[in-house]
Symmetry: C2
Subunit: 441 residues, 2 copies
């Protein structure tokens, strides 16, 4: 029987691990809760109607259709039995019992992270994130509904609250969302309404730190902030969010002065927390976890004491040669490189070859702000404006999996660049009240 | 002040009414519960993953962006005050009160129809339809989940129930859904699974009548049935559905013999019922309604006694010269022609011109079964197979609103014709249990 590799998670990490195992004599089982790979760097574009869900999601089965040795399971991991080397699954898909545990010889866990609400789980209801596809679709509906509600409202205060969009977090996702919403309001949706001027919409980006895009050099942060302000975004720095409800966001400055901002739509793009599977692996193995729930793995990404278990991506920190854990940025290139490394490690072992510890090759840092506006840092090169945006566009298109997706997205972007359009503006997940009226119409 | 026209419904009827009023001196308010026009003849393709939701839906505001005299309201009609000439709206979009009533000089109601479950409302939960976009997305997820569940199940009976798809109704929608599901199982999804052979999936189409596509000549019905059977669909005619639950469909033949078919996925494509707004207008005006809830309007589509109120599309029957009400087929061309007629009637009146009663120009009848398979009847011409399918393709692409949609859909269809692919196969509306796991992963 060939070596059984079980991969948890069909994100960049998992897919690239499998990719590196293509020629190895292994049988692979990929377990994911979703039936698609999600191109996370562009998921936020679904939230602003620039892309359709199908353009950033690709069915896992279609990816591995021709790879007979890869089996895909749509299932959710309940836990691990590290001694018996088995993955336990939850009851799913309306089945009467949980599926049988899945045995492994090597386990690769690449389960990612999700947004953390800093212990304020009650905020989740009012401040959706744009990391999962479902949530991005919900945010799209919420943003569009804000404009729709404003159009049929008479009270000016209520109207302004509908037209106020608060983005919490000034990292790449927060910057991109703020820029895109501002573009929607000031450009795409202009002339679409009759009672309101969408140009009066306010987009407010709040962050507790003193600059935007802190992972970039200061000069680029300043440029990005100016670009945002040019698009009409109000950038509120050094402000902590202290409250979110159905009607407003309350922020507090360093001195403790609070301000309540009436706003119906709030988007959460602040801190992330590792998959709870990181904590489970920590409890089973005694490995450290940090405050963000990230598991500390060895330099070769293996679980301490369990060389047959590999964990990677933004659910882990990696122990450096000096023993200190290193936190890599939670971006796709890290997951891709660690995935490749994990696959190679398994293949090398099967051939009896040693593998040197994981080394991250930092290709640079990119963030887009709007049409023709972006910032980029590649080693010592700093770019902003159109050149950075063109680079951002090229890199993202290149990595979009699947020929068809790449082609359609390219056409769509070309069209929307020239027409300022935004075609994927449908509201599909209407709240119960409007989806299911008392009687069908 | 110019003449105020209120149009209810942004379907084919409503849009074409507005189109015919472009040059008239009127102010138009379009009220719809959805923010998009839905290309209903292709909505079922969303349910099988052949098209993405955004490809059959187009934002109403984008359509009327440059028409300053058209105002779009995302709202739901609560009722009418025919004396005061006002439309009342329901409370919506999280507002504290319902929006102000909308006054009209002329009212055009084109609110369409929905599926009727023959008084078995409890079946709706187990047998979704594919007429609304939301429901089509849900059906897509359900079909795909059937295959996913079968892949991880061991019990052969439970597996077969997951792989059994029952379509109720042998009209165009039922035929198209059956054919497409069979193609998915026997072609698109083949080689995508490891534990199951998707070719063992059963697609069963049930109808109480003795042939499929009864709106077509008998010879085409026979050809369509043979095409379906060739695709692997089991066609069960002369069978009445007497029960649907979470696990099965029970059918009864003429002699009263019942058969229980274990099936997890049931698609409802049987009878339709007119919008409840038809009944409201009937109660307010004394106009007749039939068993399917359709309102009887005059030969010029006006409400009896209320020439300022026009109703059209598949929510009405039209009184002929001899006084008998005529039921037109519930297809797009009828709504399009009646919409045009309604717009022209209003424009003519404003100019003091008389308009002759509505006359339907029957361009023919088209139904598709699968890739390269369709039936078509145009006057005395009967087509089947590839020529009918090419015609079907051309007609549908032509009518798809919006340049971009038309282009993208054409590319997608070209790709999928050659690759047998089906790219929009993502499951987005996961049930609560899997969308919101106890802890984020």
């Amino acid at each position: 029987m060939s070596h059984r590799v079980v991969v948890i998670g069909g994100g960049f990490g998992g897919l690239n691990a499998i990719q590196s195992l293509r020629r190895a004599s292994v049988e692979i089982t990929l377990i994911d809760r979703r039936n698609f790979h999600l191109f996370q760097p562009l998921t936020y574009q679904v939230a602003t109607g620039a892309l359709s869900p199908g353009e950033v999601a690709y069915p896992l089965r279609a990816i591995f259709k021709s790879e007979q040795k890869v089996r895909v399971m749509l299932a959710e991991v309940a836990g691990f039995d590290l001694d018996a080397r088995q993955v336990h699954l939850t009851k799913t898909l309306g089945m009467d019992a949980a599926p049988d545990p899945v045995p492994y010889d090597t386990l690769i866990v690449a389960a990612g992270s999700s947004y953390s609400y800093f212990g304020h789980e009650d905020w989740r209801e009012f401040a959706a994130e744009v990391k999962t596809l479902e949530s991005a679709i919900a945010v799209r509906a919420e943003i569009l509904r804000g404009f729709e509600a404003a159009e049929i409202m008479d009270d000016p205060d209520a109207r302004q609250a509908q037209l106020t969009f608060v983005v919490v977090g000034a990292g790449p996702t927060g910057v991109e969302m703020s820029g895109q919403i501002a573009e929607m309001a000031h450009d795409t949706l202009r002339r679409n309404f009759r009672a309101i001027d969408t140009g009066t919409a306010r987009v407010i980006m709040v962050d507790a730190l003193d600059r935007v895009l802190t992972s970039f050099p200061e000069s680029l942060s300043r440029k990005a902030q100016r670009s945002l302000e040019h698009l009409g975004v109000t950038v509120m720095l050094n402000r902590t969010v202290v409250g979110i409800d159905d009607e407003s966001v309350t922020v507090s400055d360093d001195g403790g002065t609070t301000e309540r901002i009436p706003a119906k739509t709030v988007i959460w793009a602040a801190g992330v927390t590792a998959s709870p599977l990181a904590r489970q692996l920590s409890e089973l193995s005694g490995a450290e976890i940090d405050r963000a729930g990230r598991l500390t793995v060895e330099g070769d990404l293996t679980l301490p004491g369990h060389p047959e278990v590999i964990a990677l991506g933004d659910m882990v920190r990696v122990r450096a040669a000096d023993g200190a854990p290193v936190t890599y940025p939670g971006v796709a290139p890290v997951a891709i490189q660690q995935g490749h490394y994990a696959g190679k490690l398994v293949a090398d072992r099967l051939k009896g070859r040693a593998t040197s510890p994981f080394k991250y090759f930092d290709k640079g840092n990119l963030a887009t702000i709007g049409r023709g506006r972006a910032v980029a840092q590649i080693r010592f090169l700093k770019l902003s404006g159109l050149p950075a945006w063109v680079m951002w566009l090229g890199v993202h298109l290149w990595y979009l999996i699947g020929f068809q997706n790449r082609l359609l997205v390219m056409i769509k972007w070309a069209i929307s660049f020239f027409t300022h359009g935004r075609s994927a503006r449908i509201i599909t997940n209407q709240p119960a009240e409007s989806v299911a009226p008392p009687t069908p119409r």
